[in-house]
Symmetry: C2
Subunit: 153 residues, 2 copies
DNA sequence: ATAGTTAGTCAGATAGGCTGACTATATTGA
DNA sequence: TCAATATAGTCAGCCTATCTGACTAACTAT
């Protein structure tokens, strides 16, 4: 160890840091749990695919756009998930250029498990810090996000 | 556009999502502002270096450990920052194996600017969503982080 | 005087993005 | 009706942020 980690004057916890810390800890934990439940192939980056997949099947381009990635990046993620049987890629019935990405059975099981783990975790946290407080936190976070989005300039 | 982005049943905003969204938006904005102020070389990943640098100079290994990166990764970040004159790397006076990473003048200027931009941004957000609410949010986030850390298993 | 530990380096891998150039198919407007 | 343009997706290649493993130099405790 070094002398004394006499940190910088007012190493103030910025709002960014306050958001980042729990976020990273939470997702690390969540994906570790998923890995332990047999979904070890899924990495955090893949969640954007699940997050926006619509039940009728989504187009690659739409998925890419809504999640703010390029088509190429999305194709890469989808290919991986298809290889591991979480999604299938089918021809679009009405547009021969397009493909539709659909959840497989395994994909559905995974999504259910992820949501379940997430809400179980959140429940435990609610017990620790208080359900009301957690609920207020949720609301405040949503409001904050809204506020950042609508910031001028 | 696709048929209708009829999203999945209860595409519930998980706590993770609620943390992620404002975090990403905030840091994107902050680093864009830094780039606009002439600090375009600094990328978000570099902030871990600044975050833990102590005024007497920190050892690479200590920086790596406290920020949860490998020595190699930290060396890579520090080298980049040194190349762009944000830090200098000097021999450790008491241990000839070791090096000490120190902020340059430019490094100090950057840190000040980052902190200033961060608090200005936070101030604007306070005006939008209410200062008290924002303060409560800060506290709640810190508590949440604590709670996640001390979760069993 | 070593044996073991610690600080940092070198080489190479992987994941998660990106841009640019391209093909195939659709749409639109003269 | 067809040429021009737009859209869906692919191929190739790049960059960044990590990691692991193997190594050298130097320090520390017997």
């Amino acid at each position: 160890m070094s002398p004394s980690p006499s940190s910088f004057p007012e190493q103030a916890r910025t709002l960014g840091a306050l958001l980042r810390l729990p976020y990273h800890r939470l997702s690390k934990r969540l994906y570790a749990e998923m890995a332990a439940s047999g979904f070890g192939e899924i990495r955090p980056s893949h969640s954007v695919v699940f997050r926006h997949l619509s039940p009728e099947g989504s187009r690659l381009t739409d998925l890419a756009e809504v999640s703010g990635l390029t088509k190429q990046s999305m194709a890469y993620l989808v290919e991986y998930l298809a290889k591991h049987d979480y999604v299938t890629v089918a021809a679009d019935p009405v547009d021969r250029r397009a493909k539709r990405v659909l959840l497989t059975k395994r994909g559905h099981v995974f999504m259910k498990a992820l949501l379940a783990a997430s809400s179980r975790l959140e429940d435990e946290l609610g017990k620790k810090i208080g359900r009301t407080k957690l609920q207020n936190l949720r609301t405040a976070l949503a409001d904050l996000d809204e506020a950042i989005m609508t910031l001028p300039k």
